[in-house]
């Protein structure tokens, strides 16, 4: 007695059973956390989640699933060259999927939407903004006092006057502007330490400094941070779900690479292609639910 399917297929289905629990644990936890957090961030301008990227990736995975199923059909019909072409198409689409995902991750990294990096209240936002201000100043000071000589901003401040003894008037003027900006930073930091600073005045002050011709070019790229309630748990769950999904895509690519480039594909690999296909469709299934949950709702 037993099941009327090949052992390998039974093994794949049992494995997929464990995978269902694996992903529903993540997705279920995400749903529960989301329901329990009334101000969960969902504005795309805050989360930098773009529906066009998710929609395009959904289409890419659906197309790849279609190619796998017709590759298996070709294997059954003993048309190996055609099966190979379809499998190559699947592999190429998996690369496209990861490319788009990488582009999205790059956006998150650029906007610092990373677990543990997000300010969740005004105070954290001000601390983070002033931290960035300090980093910017440190970078500007490093033009005159290299990091190899003084790594910390305080050490650079102490060393800069000695370094500027023989500097041209033009350089001296730039350093004076930098020191004036530094003074502004120290004043803001003191206000923050004394709990006298607020987020809106800080943002306005930064804008004022950036538009001041005296500091032109010194504050490039510095932006005031704004709080995102539940931003860190959002980022954690986002990267957990999409990251593990991306790992599954990479594993699938390895599975497809074996019959394509490692061995010589023939009809004896029909079961293998079918099982790879089952795995790949499951990866597609997970994305089908991730797309509305993460990108739309």
């Amino acid at each position: 007695m037993g099941l009327p399917i090949p052992n390998s297929k039974l093994g794949m289905w049992l494995f997929l059973g464990t995978e269902i629990m694996f992903f529903t644990a993540f997705i279920g936890t995400y749903i529960v956390l989301r329901l329990g957090s009334p101000d969960w961030p969902h504005d795309p301008n805050v989360t930098h989640i773009r529906i066009w990227a998710g929609g395009l990736n959904t289409f890419v995975l659906l197309a790849s699933s279609y190619l796998v199923v017709v590759a298996h059909e070709s294997m059954v019909a003993r048309n190996i060259p055609r099966a190979k072409r379809y499998l190559m198409g699947t592999f190429a689409l998996a690369c496209v999927f990861l490319g788009i995902k990488g582009y999205e991750y790059y956006g998150k990294w650029q906007h610092d939407i990373l677990p543990g990096h997000i300010a969740e209240d005004d105070n954290q936002a001000m601390t983070k903004t002033l931290g960035d201000f300090e980093k910017t100043l440190n970078r500007q000071y490093a033009r005159y006092v290299p990091d190899s000589e003084a790594a910390r901003l305080a050490d650079k401040r102490a060393a800069i006057d000695a370094k500027m003894k023989d500097a041209s008037p033009e350089v001296q003027k730039q350093v004076d502007a930098l020191k004036a900006l530094d003074k502004q930073y120290l004043a803001l930091r003191t206000q923050h330490q004394e709990l006298k600073l607020q987020l809106v005045p800080l943002s306005e002050k930064l804008e004022e400094l950036k538009t001041n011709p005296e500091f032109a070019g010194l504050l490039g790229g510095l932006e005031a941070h704004h709080p995102i309630k539940y931003g860190n748990i959002f980022a954690s769950t986002y990267f957990l779900m999409t990251g593990f999904h991306a790992i599954h895509v990479i594993v699938g690519m390895i599975m497809f690479a074996i019959p394509l480039w490692v061995i010589s594909l023939d009809h004896r690999w029909t079961d293998y292609v079918e099982n790879c296909g089952l795995y790949w469709h499951f990866v597609d299934l997970v994305w089908i639910f991730l797309f509305p949950l993460v990108y739309i709702i």
Partner: protein, 139 residues
Amino acid sequence: MTDGHATDVHHDSHAPHHVWYFGVFGALCVLTALSVMFDVLDIRGKHTIAGINLLLAVLVLSVATAKALFVMTYFMHLKFEGRWKFLLLSPTVILAIGLPLALLPDVGVHYYTTDVPQNSAHVTERSHTQLETTSESPH
């Protein structure tokens, strides 16, 4: 590679199923476009739970379920498999549903206010102009 069978019974996993796979793929694309359309049209119902637009959530999750059924039925060939599929998949599905259901009463839906730092945090909402500035980024 091909391998032994879990039983002596001859299986028909390689028998042609006569499915119009391209049609299934087309239906899946149409359903995806439908989900995107729901979002773009900004469909809003009267009811929300924890800031979630219930109508939109029901619509897009129903579409996702329909897509999942298409994939499982035709691409994964479950339509052509025996009853073993219910035997094999039932325990895992029950356990998968069990976890969120177990967590829901405390973490997700509760009558009391949870003591998390976000509840007492002082947050200044971003102005419309600030959001427009950040949205200029393509990412």
